[in-house]
């Protein structure tokens, strides 16, 4: 027998969205959106009229610059496809990758949004396993662990289950890797994505091209840049640039930017302080798991039936 009852009660029970607090991942998405919006001009900026002769002059300058850039690349000892393939291969080999990174984000232009520095340590494998810790950069908890997540992307897909532990509430919740950043083709604006996944995806999308060399600290680096693609907010454009070591081809730095039609926007600059490949053994395998947190509570979503995490779910019943 189907349950009867008041029509509106039956309707309410069919609600596909559960009313609950945002998960850590959803809260991060919300925070990122808020920062982007605060960086957006409150009123669209009126564009100055551009005269035809100015357009023609700008076009001629662009053409000259393009010729110079092409000559410069031809003179260099770099070969585009080779460098990109080597960079992707460098982050796609067996074993476990250990990464320490410092990411700085800031608003550009009239919208005086916030400036945020984050510090991450993570271990990941090309097979989709990832374990990441976030540390406080400043404030009273400077240098201390803020949160931790571990999980596994489903093979060949962006999504997959993940467990998240929050130090403030000492709670473990379940979530999923974000799939949204690639909907409109926006490359790698994904707070959960490791550089290996990002590089592979950009290469598969055909978005990476070699744009010369530069210096990162004392290391010579190749610049791999994406084309400009639509951003999340309507009218915005996004792009990403990887700087990879000219000898190891491992990532040294990454820059992402989002620009609104007015020129305002949002930049994220990531410096990989450590990027190393370690052999897969009992010690490094443990690094891929969520750390044990004795006494941690399991949140409302912590004991949901999840896909394979790659390690036992401490909240599973």
């Amino acid at each position: 027998m189907r349950p009867r009852g008041d029509l509106m009660e039956r309707l309410a029970a069919a609600d596909p969205v559960r009313e609950e607090e945002l998960s850590l991942a959803e809260q991060r998405d919300a925070d990122a959106l808020l920062v982007q919006l605060l960086a957006t001009p409150a009123r669209p900026v009126a564009r100055p009229r551009i005269r035809r002769w100015a357009l023609a002059a700008a076009g001629a300058l662009c053409a000259v610059a393009a010729v110079f850039a092409a000559l410069n690349l031809l003179d260099s000892d770099t070969r585009g496809p080779g460098v990109i393939e080597k960079a992707v291969a460098a982050v796609s080999q067996g074993g476990v990758y250990h990464v320490l990174e410092r990411a700085q984000s800031k608003s550009i232009g009239a919208g005086q949004g916030g400036r945020l520095t984050s510090y991450f340590e993570y271990w990941h494998t090309p097979g989709g396993r990832m374990h990441r810790k976030t540390f406080a950069v400043d404030g009273p908890r400077k240098g201390r662990l803020l949160n931790e997540l571990a999980g596994k992307r489903r093979p060949g897909r962006n999504g997959g289950p993940v467990l998240m532990w929050d130090v403030r509430s000492n709670t473990i919740n379940a979530g999923g890797f974000a799939t949204r950043p690639f909907i409109r083709g926006t490359p790698s604006i994904d707070s959960f994505s490791d550089p290996g996944t990002q590089l592979r995806m950009l290469e598969q999308q055909g978005r990476l091209r070699l744009a010369g060399t530069t210096q990162v600290g004392d290391r010579q680096a190749y610049r791999l840049v994406s084309g400009v693609v639509p951003g999340r907010v309507r009218g915005a454009q996004a792009s990403v640039e990887f700087l990879v070591d000219s000898e190891t081809y491992l990532p040294l730095a990454q820059r992402q930017s989002i620009r609104h039609p007015s020129g305002d926007g949002f930049d994220v600059s990531t410096r990989y302080l450590v990027y190393e490949r370690l052999p897969l053994n009992s010690r490094t395998r443990e690094e891929l798991d969520l750390d044990p947190h004795p006494g941690a509570k399991c949140g409302p979503s912590g004991n949901l039936k999840l896909g394979p995490l790659g390690f036992p779910n401490p909240c599973a019943r």
Binding site: R2, A13, L38, T40
Partner: protein, 180 residues
């Protein structure tokens, strides 16, 4: 000292983000819902001085128009139907899960047969939890008009549910034999 524009918007955003996200998720695929939320708050950011004290119905109204724009393309037009017929209810229940999932699917199928305005009236009240007065503001009509719309929508939903419930259950064994 009065709050700055940024502070006012941040308060509005943090207070209403989860609700607007829920509104969008109930009517669109998760991917499209993210765009709806972003576009809705972009409008709120640019028209902050127009946002009333009771902001949620206003935000729902903006989200409704953003969704309508999205659905102008045929591929996204089918998103709501897929969403309504999609995954089972996550709401906690003491009923047998299989029975509850079937019931939820039945109700969502009946909802999918209603007109857009009827469905919206029901969802604003039953899923988004608005009172009739606030739901009327979200729907962009008078309270009296909304009351009539809601009354008719309830009657139509009851009719569709009754029709679905009286339909004979498919004979799965027979079907598998035919396929095999």
């Amino acid at each position: 000292m009065p709050p700055t524009r940024d502070e006012r918007f941040e308060g509005l955003f943090r207070e209403n983000y989860a609700a607007v996200r829920g509104y969008a998720l109930r009517r669109a695929t998760p991917e499209a819902a993210q765009d709806v939320v972003a576009d809705t708050f972009l409008v709120a950011w640019r028209r902050l001085d127009d946002v009333p004290d009771d902001a949620l119905p206003w935000l729902y109204g903006v989200a409704r128009r953003v969704l309508a724009n999205q659905r102008r393309t045929a591929s996204r037009g089918a998103a709501l139907e897929r969403r309504l017929a999609g995954a089972g209810s996550g709401a906690g229940s003491t009923l047998d899960p299989c029975e509850t999932a079937g019931e939820a699917q039945l109700v969502r199928e009946a909802l999918g047969r209603l007109s857009d305005s009827s469905r919206e009236a029901l969802l604003l009240v039953a899923w988004d939890g608005l009172s009739a007065a606030r739901a009327a503001r979200a729907a962009g009509c008078s309270r009296a008009t909304f009351a009539v719309r809601l009354h008719r929508a309830r009657a139509r939903l009851a009719m569709e549910l009754a029709a679905l419930e009286s339909a004979p259950a498919p004979n799965l064994e027979q079907r598998s034999l035919e396929v095999g």
